[in-house]
């Protein structure tokens, strides 16, 4: 009987679903949508065509003036940066990605919540 129980336990253990890690759900790229709402410190995901120096720029949609800009060195493929909003006093902005020659790579609209 003991042997039977042992075999049964072994069989149950053998049927347990292996602990295979699930892939993370795909993250929406900021420039793949026409518009996004953002909150302070929110991460944004975007792709770069090559490694190098780029800028991310926030432009007031109403005045056309640049409100904030960050120059950074990016990597090929997916990059993650953060947007901070506490210092910004306008609600509707363009987010612009440019390369080192100021050539526009991508552009989208963001709304600060």
């Amino acid at each position: 009987m003991k042997k039977l129980l042992f075999i049964f336990v072994i069989l149950l253990w053998g049927c347990t679903k292996p602990d295979i890690p699930l892939p993370n759900p795909p993250v929406e790229k900021i420039f793949s949508v026409g518009e996004s709402s953002v909150t302070n410190g929110q991460s944004i995901h975007f792709d770069l065509p090559s490694a190098g120096v780029y800028t991310l720029t926030l432009i007031d949609k109403e005045s056309g003036n640049v409100v904030s800009r960050e120059r950074f060195t990016g990597q090929y493929g997916e990059n993650v940066k953060k947007i901070y909003t506490k210092s910004i006093s306008v609600k509707y902005l363009y987010l612009l990605l440019e390369d080192v020659t100021k050539k526009e790579i991508s552009k989208t609209t963001i709304i600060i919540n």
């Binding site: 003036n65 950074f72 940066k81 210092s87 006093s89």
Partner: protein, 763 residues
């Protein structure tokens, strides 16, 4: 000369001078009475063939108060309205003549409820393709060609109409829903509601109500937020096919909403206007006026407060005070927010108690010319009223006892004793009462004689104890101190300081010539920051200290130490020659006198140190010229009055370094100023480094959440060139893997050698 006249005519035509709505004087209606005369509004300045869109509105009237038009010939009702019947609001189209005829026939019905009756009339040339909603004062433009949901939002936001940015229509009431239903012929119309972020969680996705939660789950009534308008069709929204994330109204031609795929191409409606009260509208070329009558005896005071441009009037509130025993006493704690047009009505903020003060003289038609009144004298800011002293024999009443008069049907109000002039006792009737018009309109022509500009009256007199309301004052307050500090940083900026230096330096070697910087008396008053009646180097020194952050203009930051309030007539009478004889001090409380039940006051606002009047009322004496210049500058600034600045920020060695580089373009640039905001929970201000030529005064002042920085060459002897650069360093209070948005530029100023304010384009 001909060309000049033609140019002037074209300019005036282009700028649209002349069109206006005039309003009648306030009056009291009898409660519970129908058909009382509510006429007196009149529209002018349009051509005879213009078709006008005109809105007539009662703003929050007492229960039972309505109006109707006795004559509606030639008018057509706007959608949702009928011409007949009693109304609280009516929108019509018609020619100016037809509308004026209708307005002249306006009748008021009153109920038993006592209260203010604010009647407002607004008009514009009826725009083709746009629909006006008289309930909220917004315009709507249907776009029948359609777009997917995202493009509909983008197109709406990129459009403007009459100076207002558009947004995808928001539907917040059944009235608004019905308005769209009636005015847009298509079906399945996108409006600003979606659950794109979380399935079933529907929010308003554009416009002034953006982010407002409509409902928390799918289904016609499931999760509908109480008090928020929802109008879903049966079984909707249902996310059919798993991809319906945006809402349409007039679903299938009916009156209800449905959810559809955002990829669908549907017609949509663009809405213009963010206010809820039509009386607060700020559309350009949209003319309105209002009057506050009362139903029954209601004491009221209407204030039209002119802040000029660049100030958000709705951030100010007002309270009423009385002045008794040498003290200002708050009537009650209720504050009233100013409207977007700077209007505010005080009713509960007034004290209805009357006090005894001297005598009232009532002047009625008689046999002998005992009295005369002189034309308006600007130096006195009033009319001299003269009464033969024999009138007073045996009364025991002296010159100083008369505090109030009723002169025929021409004037009733306070007077100020002056002096004796031969047989005449003299008083001053304050302000310009429009004597000629009132005398011509008087019912007692046979008792009035015009002689050399003054009028004589055959009159009799009675004297009675003067019962009057207590002296009152209106006090303004600002929404909060932090916002006020920021506003004031923008009011007194580098262009003000340079203009003051320029004016002073142009006064000749003996300092007694007229400078070239100022053209208006109020500019001298605002530049005389120590308020000692002399504008001199002490003032420019203080202005420079303020700009550079060494010493603020005022020791205190409260509104009362910064703002200047004037009665409009006083403000308009200030000239470059008499300014140092006028009251020049800051105050957020201005006295006023209540005469009768319905009172209107026009107040002009200016600020200590606002030398270029960028945030102040424009004095009326120069109104046409200055308005022309201001309007023209809006169109020409971008071309000729502009400099460029380039902004960059990056992580350098663990610090955040922000660089602002200047390109003066073709300008002779002598001053710059930037407000660089920073997130003080993430950054600590370090320093500003300046790269400048020409030995300017450079300044960089940390204000806790922002830095004010820039340069000024006070004597204009050199200019700032393309090498000008400012480098601002912050140390981090957290990791700096990203810096976007940790700093931002929110305000700029620049000035050229000739004193012109320049626009700064930040690239």
């Amino acid at each position: 000369m001909k060309n000049l006249l033609v140019t002037l005519f074209l300019l005036i035509s282009f700028l649209g001078f002349g069109q206006s709505v005039s309003a009648p004087d306030s009056k009291s209606f009898t409660p519970s009475t129908n058909g009382q005369d509510g006429s007196g509004f009149s529209i002018s300045g349009f051509t005879t063939t213009d078709v006008l869109l005109t809105s007539i509105s009662l703003i929050n009237p007492p229960t039972g108060t309505t109006f109707y038009l006795g004559t509606t010939t030639g008018l057509a009702p706007a959608s949702g309205f009928t011409l007949t019947g009693n109304k609280t609001r009516l929108v019509v189209t018609g020619t100016m003549a037809n509308v004026n005829t209708a307005l002249a026939s306006l009748k008021i019905n009153t109920g038993a409820t006592i209260g203010n009756i604010q009647l407002s009339v607004a008009t514009t040339i009826n725009p083709t393709g746009y629909y006006y909603n008289g309930v909220n004062g917004h315009f709507y433009k249907p776009v029948s060609t359609g777009a997917n949901f995202a493009n509909a939002i983008t197109t709406a936001r990129n459009s403007t109409f009459k100076g207002q940015k558009g947004y995808l229509v928001t539907i917040t009431s059944s009235d608004e829903d019905l308005f769209i239903y009636n005015n847009v012929p298509q079906s399945n119309i996108w409006f600003a509601a979606d659950d794109r972020t979380t399935e079933g969680r529907w929010v308003i996705s554009d416009g002034p109500e953006i982010g407002t939660l409509l409902k928390t789950s799918n289904g016609q009534y499931a999760g509908n937020v109480q008090g928020v308008y929802n109008n879903w069709a049966s079984g909707e929204p249902n996310d059919w096919g798993g991809n319906e994330d945006a809402a349409v109204t007039k679903w299938g031609g009916g009156f209800y909403w449905n959810d559809l795929s955002t990829a669908n191409v549907n017609p949509y409606v663009i809405e213009y206007g963010t206010w809820t009260n039509p009386d607060d509208q700020t559309f350009t070329e949209f003319y309105n006026n209002s009057v506050t009558h009362s139903n029954g005896e209601v004491l009221s005071a209407r204030f039209n407060i002119d802040f000029g441009g660049n100030v958000d009037e709705t951030k100010f509130s007002a309270k009423g005070y009385t002045y008794t025993n040498n003290t200002w006493n708050l009537v009650n704690g209720t504050t009233k927010q100013l409207s977007g047009l700077g209007k505010v009505d005080l009713t509960s903020g007034l004290d209805t108690t009357k006090i005894t003060d001297g005598y009232k003289a009532t002047i009625v038609p008689g046999q002998v010319e005992w009295s005369l009144i002189n034309p308006y004298e600007p130096a006195r800011n009033g009319h001299r009223l003269q009464i033969d002293e024999r009138v007073f024999y045996g009364t025991g009443i002296n010159l100083n006892d008369i505090k109030y008069i009723k002169l025929f049907d021409i004037y009733e109000g306070p007077i100020t004793p002056l002096d004796f002039n031969g047989w005449w006792k003299q008083w001053l009737v304050p302000n310009d009462i429009g004597l000629t018009n009132k005398a011509n309109a008087s019912s007692y022509q046979s008792n009035i004689r015009l002689q050399d500009g003054w009028y004589a009256f055959k009159a009799d007199y009675t004297f009675s104890v003067n019962q009057m309301y207590k002296p009152h004052g209106i006090e303004l307050s600002y929404v909060n101190q932090t916002d006020l500090n920021t506003l004031y940083s923008n009011i007194v900026s580098v262009s003000d300081v340079y203009l003051a230096f320029k004016e002073l330096s142009d006064k000749g070697i003996f300092g007694n010539q007229s400078g070239m910087g100022f053209s208006k008396g109020i500019q001298y008053m605002n530049a005389d920051v120590d308020m000692n009646g002399v504008f001199d180097e002490n003032d420019t020194y203080k202005l420079l200290q303020h700009l550079t952050g060494v010493q603020p203009l005022s020791q205190y930051t409260a509104l009362t130490y910064l703002i200047k309030l004037y009665n409009k007539s006083d403000y308009d009478s200030i000239t470059p020659n008499n300014w140092n004889t006028k009251f020049n001090n800051t105050r957020n409380l201005i006295p006023f006198t209540l005469n009768g039940l319905n009172n209107t006051y026009n107040i002009s606002v200016s600020w200590l140190g606002d030398v270029n009047l960028s945030h102040s009322a424009q004095p009326a004496t120069n109104a046409v010229a200055s308005n022309s210049i201001r309007t023209m500058s809006l169109t020409t600034n971008s071309v000729s009055n502009q400099i460029n600045a380039e902004l960059m920020s990056e992580n350098v060695g663990g610090n955040l370094v922000v660089t602002i580089s200047i390109d003066p373009l073709q300008q002779e640039l002598v001053g710059t100023q930037f407000q660089l905001n920073y997130d003080n929970t993430a950054l600590k201000f370090g320093k500003v480094e300046f790269v400048t030529k020409g030995n300017p005064t450079n300044f960089g002042t940390d204000k806790g959440t922002y830095v004010i920085l820039g340069s000024l060459i006070t004597d204009g002897s050199t200019t700032l060139d393309k090498t000008t650069e400012y480098k601002i360093t912050f140390s981090p209070l957290m990791g700096l893997s990203s810096v976007l948005g940790l700093t931002s530029i929110s305000a700029t100023d620049a000035v050229s050698k000739n004193g012109a304010q320049l626009k700064v384009k930040v690239n």
